[in-house]
Symmetry: C2
Subunit: 250 residues, 2 copies
Amino acid sequence: MKVVLVGAGNLATNLAVALQQSGHTILQVFSRTSQSAELLANRVGVPAITSLSQLSQEADIYIVSISDSALSTFDYTAFPTHSLVVHTAGSIPMDVIPLERRGVFYPMQTFSRQRIVDFSEIPIFVEAASDDDTQFLTDFAHTINNKVYRLSSADRLYLHLAAVYCSNFVNHCYAMSEDILRQHGLPFSVMLPLVDEVAAKVHQVSPHEAQTGPAIRHDENVIRHHFSLLENDPQLQEIYAIMSKHIAND
Amino acid sequence: MKVVLVGAGNLATNLAVALQQSGHTILQVFSRTSQSAELLANRVGVPAITSLSQLSQEADIYIVSISDSALSTFDYTAFPTHSLVVHTAGSIPMDVIPLERRGVFYPMQTFSRQRIVDFSEIPIFVEAASDDDTQFLTDFAHTINNKVYRLSSADRLYLHLAAVYCSNFVNHCYAMSEDILRQHGLPFSVMLPLVDEVAAKVHQVSPHEAQTGPAIRHDENVIRHHFSLLENDPQLQEIYAIMSKHIAND
């Protein structure tokens, strides 16, 4: 397939590498910022453009990976009507794109430019306005990996919400742990074997079965003691109390 | 070293395997429950005992891996005064053991009988009442791995507290995510690549630097929208609100 990437951020960077590895041709990388456009374009060896007037009309698919807020103000008239235009946002409905051939291609992962992830492991959630385009997009996603799911905009919202718990909130728990350790002269690296094991465990058993710790044991002595250790940090204490209450009620 | 294991739970089971792999001799496994004692004793091929009157007096070190509450009521008079007696609990002070040669050997990990973990990767936190025993225990721990830290009972409390955030609270985030997915017909397995990447990322960058998502971006539209999606689940909504507030303030 001939592809144009609109946006040159973390997701676009990772996707560009995966698309080339799967044999697709990236015609152009567009970004409003010439520095971002060139950074990615140079990385994958394709032309960078910064004006929509330069947009190639030859692509089979245009993949728009820009911020959620930019998606609603983007000028979609630049795209040819004979091609499919998709965005990659978990929490934005497909219909933000005011075109007949519109869709969503949502690879669910946390991306950074510095870490190129293995795209073949990432589930891709697709949606399109017509049955033909749904099939087209499903086939396209299958060239990258075999974890392709069709999902409506309404259900994708909940998927994205579930991902916030599994990534953003999990990472914040790591950050709070780091704060406690730092106050006692310990590096966060001592936690890494535990971090890895907790993640590995839920590959084998459901998170509800995997729960351990004072809250699920209803060990009030330890809970009260932990709570008192946090008396100088009301924020951490608030999280401790609420998480423990929810685990105990689960 | 000649070792007696007191307790036959998840930690004792994993430790027994690691001790034998490191060339130590387990003389006995003690448990009040004959079934638990025999299960572990058979697994490692050593005698099981269920009465402290049968306790060997020949061990160099006695490792007491029993519940936090049992540690405070245990009959420590059964141990020979010439040997070191240690417990393995993160949140219990060393001085719960009323003996001159007392200490703590705390391998920080989440253990289950079904999953034998690689002990060489687990940090071990040691403490003893005398300098000689601290050295003895440090050397002993080094026979298992090279991640050995000396830590006081006071600091170990905070370490254990930090571990609750990194394991119990993280796992609860996974569980909440699973609940949301289940309500929309999606299996938790779609989250596993994300779970793994979030854990892998903090091997390279600090959790504070690794934070992503709507809260750290102060994306009020997405946050409000997510909040409204959870209106039928006040528990999940409460966690969403408080975690997002804390991430935004971080």
